[in-house]
Each structure stands twice: as C-alpha cells, then as structure tokens.
Symmetry: C2
Subunit: 355 residues, 2 copies
C-alpha cells in the first residue's frame, strides 16, 4: 500500500516526521513517498499544488498531510497561496466527507477554557461536506452588479449551491457514523433563510428513512454555535455543509483546549482519504522542536482505520497515545504543572516506545 | 416622538410590557402604538408582517420589538413563517447595521459555561451587516443544475454578494463605534476562499484610511469562532457580514451565559432603528411570567441613545438595571443560590422603582 507524505509548511515537517516514525514501527509494509505542498510546493515548483504532488496524491491509497501556510506567502496572489493546495486536493480527489472528532481526553480537561463539568468527556464527531457549497460554487468573482439595489456598483459575489446527490452521499456517511456511536445525528443548516439549506434539510430528512435506528434532529447554524458553548456534550454526530462545517469544526475543536490533539480525515466515495491534524502550520513555533505531533499521529491512526483497513493497528496507535498521556508526557501546548514537558521528538519517541 | 411597539410571539408580549412601563416613567412624551408581528401577525392578518404593521414601522422614529416564533407556525410555508417578519422589516426599512453587545455583568460571571478568568469583564461589540450577503442575494431557489459536476440534477442555490457601498457604510459604523471604545476593530471574513469576502477585506482596508486612530485587523471566520472560545476578551469591536454575524453574535452572546441580558439595535442610515433582545421567543416558558425582561429594557435604553437622542435617559435606564442586579434580584434564567428569584413583572417593577 502506498502512502503519499505531504509535510507542507511551518511545523508540518516536524510533526509528520513523528507520524512516519510511528507508521514505520507497526511491522507493516507501507510504501511512502514524500512531495512538496503549500508554500513549500510554491518554493520548489512555483505552485502550491505542483503537478507531481497531485499525481502522487492520486496514485496513493492514502495521504498523510502536515499543514500549509507561512507568512512569507501571505502576499502572493490568491491562486498561488498555500491554502489553495488543500482546496485543490479536496476537489481533485473528490474528498467530500470530512470527519473531525472533537474529543477531550480526561487528562487534558484542565486545558479547556470551559468549566470542567461542561466539557469533561466531550466526544463529538463532526461530519463536514468538503467539496461543495459556496467554497466552490460557480459563478463567482468581482463584477459590476447586474441588478438589485446596488446595480451598476462594483460587487464581490459567490454562489452557494448543493446538488441532491452531494447532500445524499455526505448524509449517508454521517448516518453510518452515528450508527457506530450513540445513534444521534444533528443536521445543521439555515433552512429559515437559505434555499440551499432548506433543500439540504429536505434531502437529509429523506435519507433518514434508510436509518430508522438513528435519531435525527435539525438545528440552525446560529443555534448550533450557541449550543456548542452552552451544552456541547449533548451532541453526538453533527453533519453540515462546507462553510458551516468550517466554522463549527474549529469552534468544537477549541472547546477542548487541546487542538494539538485532534486529527481529521477527508474521504472520497471509496474511503481513500487525506489525513491531517486539525490545527494549522503555526509558523511562529516552526523549527523550535516544541510542536505537538499527537494530532498527526492520531491522523495516521485514522488513516490505518479508514483507508488502509488496519483497524487493529489503528487501535494500537490510539492506545499508545493514551499511554503517553497517562505517563504524564506533555508538549508545551498542553503542559500543566505536575506533568513532564517534552519536545516534538521526545513525544514521538514515547509513542514509538509505547508501541 | 413615535415608537412602534411590536411584541410578537412567545414571551415577546410579557417582556415588551415591562420595557414600555420603563419608558413610561422617564418623564418624556412618547407616542406609542402597538401592532401585531410574526405569528401574531399571521394569526390576526394572515401575514407575519401585515401591511399595517409595516406602515407603522415606517412612520415611527423607532421600533421596540419583542421576539417572533412559536411551534404552531413551524409548519407554515416559509414565506408565512414568523421570522419573515424580521427579515422583511430589516430589508424594507434598510436597517443595515446590527449592533450586538456581548457584555458579562460582574454579578453574573457564574452563569457562563466558561471559566471566570476567561470571561469576567467581557465587553465585545459585534457589528453585523444586516441587509445584504447570502441572506437576500438574488438569484436563489431550487432548480436543475445548469452546469458543473452535478449538471442536470436538482439543486438548491443562493447568491452571496456585497456591493462596495454596502460594505463601506457598515465599516463606517464599526470604525466609529471603535473610536468611542478601545479603538480596536477586527473585521471577520473568509477572504482565503470567497470572492465576496476578499472584496469585503479590500473595502474595509480602504475605509480604514479615514480612521487612522483605530487599529484594524482581519481574521478568518473559522479562526474568529476559535478565538471567541479561547480568548474572547481580546476582542473590542468586531465587524462582519450578515451570515457570519448571525453565527458569531449568537456565539458571543452565549459566552456570557446570560443571553437574557443582551440587547440589540438595528440601524438605518439616519439612526432610525429597531431594538430587540438578543434572545428568542422562548415559547416553552411563554405565559409563565418568568422570562427575563432586562434584555428588552436594555434594548429600550439603546433606542433612547441611538434613535431618540436621549443619552441621559439611556444612562438612567442602564444604571437602574445595574442597581437591580446589585440588589440581588434575578429572574429564573440567571438565578443562583444566594440571590432573590423574581418574576418578569417583579423585575420590571424593580427597574421602574430604581428609576
Ligand atoms: C485553509 C482553508 C481554505 C481551510 C478551509 O476553510 O476549509 C481550513 O480552514 C480548513 O478548515 O481546512
Ligand atoms: C430568525 C432569523 C432569520 C434571524 C437571522 O438569521 O438573522 C435570527 O437568527 C437573528 O439573528 O436575528
């Protein structure tokens, strides 16, 4: 099986290195090939998603992705900026289902800005649609307004759109995920205002007929953002569109206070996937050897489970991570008095040792 | 001066009654006229925003609005549902600038789900654009997809759009608000993905030239949703579009844990405004006499300040509210052991007495 390794920018290379070390001690035969992406892709080949990188990603059975973005690329025109790589990979590979767990490890409950009783034991799975919505909808651009109250003025515009089968397929992923958990699914929309999301609600309701064992409820996005603050533990699985999912998944991740622990998977229709930590490239701490590699290591575990069909190995990796937490090892981002502060490399080595 | 009183549904009538009582003891001459809106408008006249109600709202110098929505109207077709009243009022009256303070009163710090050190002293002003964006953009609907990967399928679609002058006018409101506070403005967008919000960023940056005394920074919406959880006190004034503002203003309100305390103002170009509590119609507690009237009373204070040019009276009302809190009076939603639980009417009467 072939894994494309795309370390990217900032802390990307450091954290991906540790996840690769973990994959290497599992006793499996993985072919791994590394390519430049993001700012590193632009620096090496003049584009954030170089042709060779896209080709490798297409050929591979799974992709392990670090993070992209660094200050030096902020002034490039949009089409050359690092984040275009991630948008391009999602679209070109059809990675429509983004799974973003927000889990609070008991040992890290203190890291949250929320009161312990509100978040301890938090375990939400957010399923974000990833290739549609206003992210990719055409037409879009800057133009002279063709109609409306501001006709004749310059305006920026985008198109929000969701086709029936796009909604159906991500709804199936979410219902199936709920079946494996507490059998509760919340679909988040803005059906009271948007045609796109009234349509979304209708289709999700229709797909529900195939999953009578799952309890479905619908919630407006503004209310969901409130309930995540008020009573986040009430959620089990949440499914929503690309734009709302971008917002809610980051909000949910931050509730834990330990976003350095949270992995993610972006899957296509055949469970091929791209796996990346939920956090960003953190250029401010890049090269210092202090970044937390656990989100990337846990992303590798998700890869083992979903794309490489090695559920037992995924369990092993997840248990090894739990073990190092129980041992009191902490990178700087999750350090508290009474625990042992370790570097990126030490944390990776501890996971390898626990395996 | 004429005030349109639109109580609406659920707890709307109870809480508006208390705010009217407060307005009546200020010693001013206000002409007040009441009309049905929301579900009550539909029940009385077959439409959530009856012609007579819209006419009254247009004639008046300011509008005091309760809340709309009740379960019995949930099955109506969308164009007749209660929330269309609020969308219709905003659009017809050109109420483009929504001011949503998120303030945590020291006495109520315990009500938040966040740790006291994270939220105590919280004081954010969110300025939400209210008449543009994907909320109102045409074209929209359900159609056969004319192009793209799902061509020929049924799809829901909406248009996100912002014209230059729409962005300029709300940016001016936000910069001017920042000048009266800590002189820091955060503009929230998704310029890395959306053409509309790259344009938004460009225009806000241009308007900034007229306000060199205000520090402006730009933040992506996903990051803003995270920072509101991680370090909400870092924000002073936030300006954003209609859709993002819907989400962030509710999230910010819920950080306080006491949304029953938070007022809002929606202003047109001449400071005529609609004033309403930030919370909803809470049909589950309607008629029980336990709703918190303070958000509505504080909305009346904002009305005095912004639309009726009675800043001193606004101060009086706000101080009266602070006084009843200091006296330990609490409605059920903000009650904690050691304070005195009071009804809607008792709370209103206490504010009147404090005046
Ligand atoms: C970098 C950006 C384009 C991206 C997104 O908005 O999808 C990121 O925020 C994410 O959530 O993966
Ligand atoms: C009721 C709904 C249409 C409205 C909105 O989305 O603007 C509400 O959520 C608000 O924020 O005032």
């Amino acid at each position: 099986m072939k894994i494309a390794i795309l370390p990217g920018d900032g802390i990307g290379p450091e954290i991906v290195e540790q996840a690769v070390n973990v994959l290497n001690v599992l006793g499996e035969q993985f072919e791994m090939e590394t390519a430049a992406v993001g700012g590193a892709g632009y620096a090496a080949h003049g584009h954030p998603l170089p042709d060779g990188t896209l080709k490798l990603a297409k050929e591979a059975d799974a992709i392990l992705f670090g993070a992209v973005g660094d200050w030096q690329y902020d002034t490039l025109e949009r089409s050359l900026r690092p984040e275009q790589a991630i948008l391009g990979l999602r679209k070109n590979l059809g990675l429509f289902a983004n799974l973003r767990p927000a889990i609070l490890y008991p040992e890290l409950a203190g890291a949250s800005t929320l009161k312990p009783e509100v978040v301890s034991g938090l375990d939400i799975l957010l399923v974000r649609e990833l290739t549609g919505d206003v992210y990719f909808g055409q037409p879009r651009g800057v133009r002279t307004a063709p109609d409306g109250a501001f006709k004749g003025e310059r305006e920026g515009f985008d198109t929000m759109r969701y086709a029936e089968s796009e909604i159906r397929r991500v709804a199936h992923v979410a219902f199936q995920a709920a079946q494996k958990r507490d059998k509760r699914l919340t679909s988040v929309d803005k059906a009271n205002v948007l045609e796109t999301f009234q349509f979304w609600r209708d289709i999700v309701t229709d797909v529900h007929k195939e999953y009578p064992d799952v309890a479905l409820d619908h919630m407006y996005i503004d209310n969901a953002a409130m309930q995540l603050v008020r009573a986040p533990k009430k959620f089990d699985v949440v499914v929503t569109g690309n734009m709302f999912g971008d917002i809610l998944s980051d909000q949910a991740a931050m509730l834990t206070g330990s976003i350095g622990m949270l992995p993610s998977a972006s899957l296509d229709a055949n469970n091929k996937g791209l796996y990346e930590p939920s956090h960003g490239s953190a250029p401010d701490i890049a090269g210092k050897g202090i970044a937390n590699p656990l989100a990337t290591i846990l992303s590798a575990a998700m890869m083992l489970r979903f794309s490489l069909n090695k559920a037992e190995q995924a369990d092993r990796v997840e248990n090894a991570v739990k073990k190092v937490l129980a041992q009191g090892l902490r990178t700087a981002d999750i350090y508290e008095a009474g625990t042992t502060k370790v570097s990126t490399k030490e944390m990776g080595a501890a996971v390898v040792k626990a395996l």
